[in-house]
């Protein structure tokens, strides 16, 4: 339960409690403005009845032909609003927009290989690993196995235009590519 509304430029003054989280990066303002000026319909926040932002999602549409798809660039929920189903709502929102507004074949996203909680969650939403991308992320400095800390999974879920599920595969975890091979 929450208020789902557009993510706007002035929300950058109010997203601290979400962004001061290890997994969430605060980018330069041109990053956010770049998304808002191209895919405003793929950026949304959920807020509490009192108007506090609980989390946000930012996405974009890219690729041509059967590669046309929605991409989840950032999805983040403040720690105190986790376990409330916000991520599911964001993802179904983005899937709907990718399907209806952009006629995409699938939605994809990247996640750190060590972020197991997030991986399980996305699997629960119908996503599966399509490939492992080497050194996709910066090191977090946690001193863990650097391979796991820096590698990311590319996870995908087919949309209504892909009823034969051609955009996903079962053995994705075994397929590794380097970061410069992905967009």
């Amino acid at each position: 339960m929450s208020v789902l509304r557009p993510f706007r430029a002035t929300d950058m003054f109010k997203f601290n409690h979400i962004n001061l989280d290890l997994w969430t990066e605060t980018y330069a303002i041109n990053f956010y403005l770049g998304y808002f000026s191209r895919w405003p319909d793929m950026c949304a926040v959920q807020e509490t009845p009192q108007g506090r932002i609980m989390g946000y999602v930012m996405g974009k549409a890219e690729g041509a032909g059967t590669e046309r798809h929605g991409h989840v660039t950032a999805l983040s929920v403040a720690p105190e609003y986790r376990r409330l189903g916000l991520a599911r709502k964001f993802m179904s929102f983005l899937e709907q927009v990718s399907d209806e507004n952009y006629r995409g074949y699938f939605v994809d996203l990247y996640v750190r290989c060590i972020n197991t909680a997030a991986i399980h969650m996305y699997e629960g939403f119908g996503y599966s690993v399509y490939r492992r991308v080497k050194e996709y992320y910066q090191n977090l400095g946690l001193g863990l196995n650097p391979r796991d800390e820096e590698d990311g999974f590319d996870m995908r879920k087919p949309l209504s235009r892909d009823p034969m599920r051609r955009s996903v595969r079962a053995n994705g975890r075994d397929i590794t590519v380097s970061a410069h091979e992905v967009p």
Binding site: L4, R8, K14, L33, G34, S37, P40, N101
Partner: protein, 938 residues
């Protein structure tokens, strides 16, 4: 040709500005009039900070009215780098005039106007382009520009409707319907809304195509809801929402609010027959209760909406005096707690509904007190945490005796330590589920400190939070608490360490830097050459530069990609960041630190004067995030944020205004610049004029205004400082005015320096021969008679010495001590700024101001003596801080929280050492700095 130009571009692209300049010079030797190369050289110069040289080239290129794309593009970057957006508009307008058939030039001219927010011109260009090139998007550009012009504060009221009507006429003339594109549709509905044409707007959003657009575009859907409201369709919206909730399973809280608003619509729409309306609403309440009850049944614990809607329904029913079942609120609360007490958000959800009294409070409290402190699962611990927070919220003042609060603090802490077991296997980067119990304990201790003034309780809070942060390294909340507490304890280096660990970045600098930079000059050691805080100010201010360089480009891009719904927000964002209150509070602190470190010369004085005067004309926005600091204090006392403010006063606009007045006045006296000179020396555009009527009053009158609401934001010592500063500037003004060299002489000097630097004379300046003397020209009138300095000046330093001794003996907290010491030093520096002119013997002699020089000498001697005395007292205070006895005292004070193991004696001793060392460092440094400052300005 290409062969010669390419290396220049390559050098520029790779950031090797030096080799770009060399490559340009090579070409210019053979073709001295090559405009493109001149423009590129100007760009390389701008990027290597050689502004004066760049200006010369830039003006040459502009004067020859370039019209080719590469030169224009290069010049666009040059002008942007110099902040000369007005010149960019002129440049493109001229080029477009030369080639009216060039669509790209038209577009660039439009964009140049967009960058500076010149909507009137933008609208005219877009209209012209639409006629000429017949592309629909130009039409929408002109509609958007008209709408923005209508909203611009500079647009007169009467003109606004005219502009909106124009926008309406334009959009209605579009060849293609607006619903083909969600953002055009949004713009269209918006224009109708602004004109109050709600029926037409309603028709649009409820048409078949309109519904489709709104269903997959949140911005349009938001507008749709607004139109329903504006049309007064509250009841209908409620009915529609019921359907969405039931049939489409929509759990957007806005739908539930629509049902609630619909329920009470008869009463909220100012009915003529109140009794009848009440009866109707009573019936609707029953229905709504049934409806939400049904949703609760369907959703169970899957969703909170139905449950929360029942609470909101009860609250509103009570508000209108229509509550029927007195136990309903209690049972809804209990039900909610039972269902969602295990979620972190429960406290926040329930807070609006628990301001209970009497029996209701007793029933609620009893229920919460029954929550056991046994934690087998995550839900258990959250249930306990929520119960404690909810109980605490309703504690009355009588419940908050130091004894009772200490008992609570210890209880929270014990539960915390117990709760740690639940998260013992979590990875080191995860948050501990028990964290909030440590925070509750710390807040209870801070509350006792606030009542008793005994710093021992702050030490308890600090030590237990240090223990908690070691177990939950990523908890920004714990760190923010520590920052606040360490500043109160006078341990700024520890506060800064925690602030840096939070890793504040980008735009967060604007909203969060107040935690560390508010009144930062109190904790700065710039006087002894430690520039930590000075550079922190500069670091945190970089975001404002990226904003002014980049945000306007995205307004341009949003036009380019026709995302009209975003443009007003981009403009607001740019304005709020550009005119951020925090930006200028930090600027002020930076100035205060700077003068304690740098030589006070005309370079510093002139530059700061110009900058502070710009700030004085701004309309500020307060973007600071205070809400981020959790508050678990009872509603009967101040919030944690308020309790931990620096000396109970958070600097705001009033504070900024006072300090601006003080410093502008001081720099104005010290400077030789007057407005005519300033205009000639300014490089970029002047900021847009403010719409605040007060800025129209002459500067000197504004500077002299004293407003109580501004003074209210000052601490008592700042208030004394303000009085002193006002008296000082008033006393010295006539002597400065008499001695200051005439503007022509100042300009001549500036021209001489520019010519030395660039080899070119200062542009647009003709210097009359007689002005080029040394500034000591004979004056016609007699010098003003020297009067005795007022007591506010001569007494100030003695008074501050007395204050210092009081606070020192009264065992005030170190931050209080540092506050008044740094202000006394600042008073001395202000005196230095305002008397430097009279240090030159020839000035005194020529102007016959010997008596003044004598007064100045006496005051300086007095001030130096006081500062020396404070200095030695502070240095010996520092010595006492870093002793084993002091550490032992701190450990003793922390007895309530010391445990057998873990949070044990050794751990606390370690924290005590860190605190006392940090205190020693700052008090010793500030103390020694006093002497250093006196010596520098002896």
């Amino acid at each position: 040709m290409d062969r010669q130009i390419r290396p220049i571009y390559e050098a520029l692209d790779t950031g090797s500005n030096k080799s770009a300049i060399l490559a340009c010079n090579k070409v210019l030797k053979k073709q001295p009039n090559n405009l493109l190369v001149k423009a590129l050289k100007a760009l390389a110069l701008v990027r290597s900070q050689k502004v004066e040289e760049a200006l010369v080239l830039c003006d040459e290129v502009l004067a020859s009215k370039p019209a080719d794309d590469p030169t224009l593009a290069a010049m666009m970057h040059v002008l942007r780098g110099l902040g000369r957006h007005m010149d960019m508009v002129t440049m493109y307008e001229d080029a477009y005039k030369q080639q009216p058939g060039n669509e790209e030039l038209g577009t660039q001219t439009f964009f140049a106007n967009v960058r500076i927010g010149n909507w009137k011109a933008a609208q005219q260009i877009a209209t012209k382009m639409h006629k000429q090139f017949q592309d629909d998007h130009y039409l929408y550009w002109s509609v958007m520009s008209a709408l923005l012009q209508a909203h611009d504060p500079s647009t007169p009221e009467a003109l606004r409707t005219v502009l909106l009507k124009l926008a309406h006429r334009l959009i209605s003339s579009s060849a293609t319907p607006s619903f083909y594109n969600a953002d055009r549709f949004h713009l269209h509905v918006n224009v109708l809304k602004e004109l109050g044409l709600y029926d037409e707007a309603f028709e649009m959003v409820e048409s078949e195509t309109g519904k489709v657009v709104c269903s997959s575009n949140l911005a349009c859907d938001e507008l749709r809801r607004e139109i329903w409201k504006l049309k007064g369709l509250t009841k209908e919206a409620g009915e529609r929402a019921e359907k969405r909730i039931l049939e489409a399973k929509d759990r957007n809280w806005l739908e539930f609010l629509a049902v609630l608003d619909g329920t009470f619509a008869d009463l909220t729409s100012q009915p003529s027959d109140v009794e009848a309306a009440k009866a109707a609403v009573s019936e609707r309440i029953v229905k709504a209760r049934e409806f939400f009850g049904k949703i609760v049944e369907i959703d169970g614990m899957k969703d909170r909406s139905g449950h929360l809607a029942l609470l909101e329904l009860e609250k509103r029913a009570r508000h209108h005096g229509l509550a029927t079942d007195s136990a309903a609120l209690n049972s809804s609360l209990e039900h909610y707690f039972q269902s969602f007490g295990g979620k972190a958000c429960c406290y926040e959800d329930l807070k609006p509904y628990i301001e209970l009294e009497g029996d209701e409070l007793a029933r609620w409290t009893a229920m919460l007190e029954n929550q056991p402190a046994t934690f087998a699962s995550l839900s258990d611990i959250w249930r306990y945490i929520n119960a404690q927070k909810l109980l605490r919220y309703n504690l009355s003042a009588a419940d908050l005796t130091p004894e009772a609060e200490t008992k609570r603090a210890v209880q929270y802490l014990d539960a915390y330590l117990d709760g740690l077991k639940l998260g013992k296997d979590l990875p080191s980067y995860d948050l501990q589920p028990a964290d909030d119990l440590a925070i509750l304990s710390a807040q209870a201790f801070v509350n006792i400190w606030k009542q008793t003034g005994d710093e021992a309780f702050l030490c308890n809070a600090a030590a237990l939070l240090e223990y908690a942060i070691a177990r939950s390294k990523m908890s920004y909340q714990i760190r923010l608490h520590l920052i606040r507490i360490y500043r109160l304890l006078g341990a700024p280096s520890l506060a800064l360490e925690h602030y840096r660990s939070i890793n504040v970045k980008q735009v967060q600098n604007d909203t969060l830097s107040h935690f560390i930079l508010s009144r930062a000059s109190t904790f700065s050691l710039s006087s002894i050459g430690d520039l930590t805080y000075t550079s922190e100010c500069l670091e945190s201010s970089r975001i404002y530069l990226s904003n002014s360089e980049e945000t306007a480009e995205f307004i341009v891009r949003a036009f380019g990609s026709e995302k009209y719904s975003q443009i007003p927000d981009f403009i607001e964002f740019e304005d709020r960041l550009d005119n951020s209150l925090q930006r200028d509070l930090v600027k002020m602190e930076h100035v205060r630190m700077r003068i304690a470190h740098e030589p006070i010369n005309s370079e510093l004085v002139d530059m700061e004067l110009i900058e502070l005067k710009f700030i004085f004309d701004r309309v500020h926005h307060d973007n600071r995030d205070f809400d981020i600091l959790a508050n678990y204090q009872p509603r009967s006392v101040a919030s944690f944020n308020q309790q931990t403010q620096f000396l109970e006063k958070t600097p705001g606009l009033g504070w900024l205004w006072v300090f601006l007045k003080i410093y502008i006045k001081a720099f104005q006296l010290a400077s030789d610049l007057d407005d005519t000179v300033e205009d000639k020396l300014l490089i970029g555009d002047r900021p847009k004029p403010s719409y605040d009527p007060e800025t129209k009053i002459p500067l000197n009158e504004r500077l002299a205004m004293r407003k109580q609401e501004e003074i209210n934001e000052l601490t008592p010592d700042e208030s004394l400082f303000y009085d002193y500063a006002s008296a000082l500037s008033q006393w010295l003004t006539p002597y400065h005015d008499y001695t200051r060299p005439p503007p022509s002489a100042v300009l001549a000097e500036a021209a001489k320096i520019t010519e030395q630097k660039t080899g070119h004379p200062l542009k647009g300046l003709e210097i009359s021969a007689d002005a080029a003397t040394n500034g000591h020209a004979k004056k016609d009138e007699e010098p003003p008679a020297v009067v005795e300095p007022p007591a506010q000046i001569t007494q100030y330093f003695d008074d501050m010495l007395k204050r210092f001794k009081e606070v020192l003996e009264g065992k005030g907290l170190p931050h209080e001590l540092l506050h008044l010491v740094t202000l006394t030093q600042e008073a001395f520096l202000l005196f230095v700024i305002e008397t430097t002119r009279f240090k030159t013997p020839s000035v005194i002699k020529v102007n016959k101001l010997g008596a003044l020089a004598q007064h100045i000498k006496e005051i300086r001697a007095k001030a130096s003596a006081v500062l020396a005395e404070i200095s030695s007292a502070l240095v010996s205070y520092a010595e006492q801080e870093a002793t084993a006895e002091r550490r032992k005292e701190v450990v003793q004070a922390c007895k309530p929280i010391i445990h057998e193991s873990g949070l044990d004696h050794d751990f606390v001793l370690n924290v005590a050492k860190k605190i006392t060392d940090a205190r020693k460092q700052i008090t010793d440094g500030v103390g020694k700095g006093l002497v250093r400052v006196c010596k520098t300005h002896a």
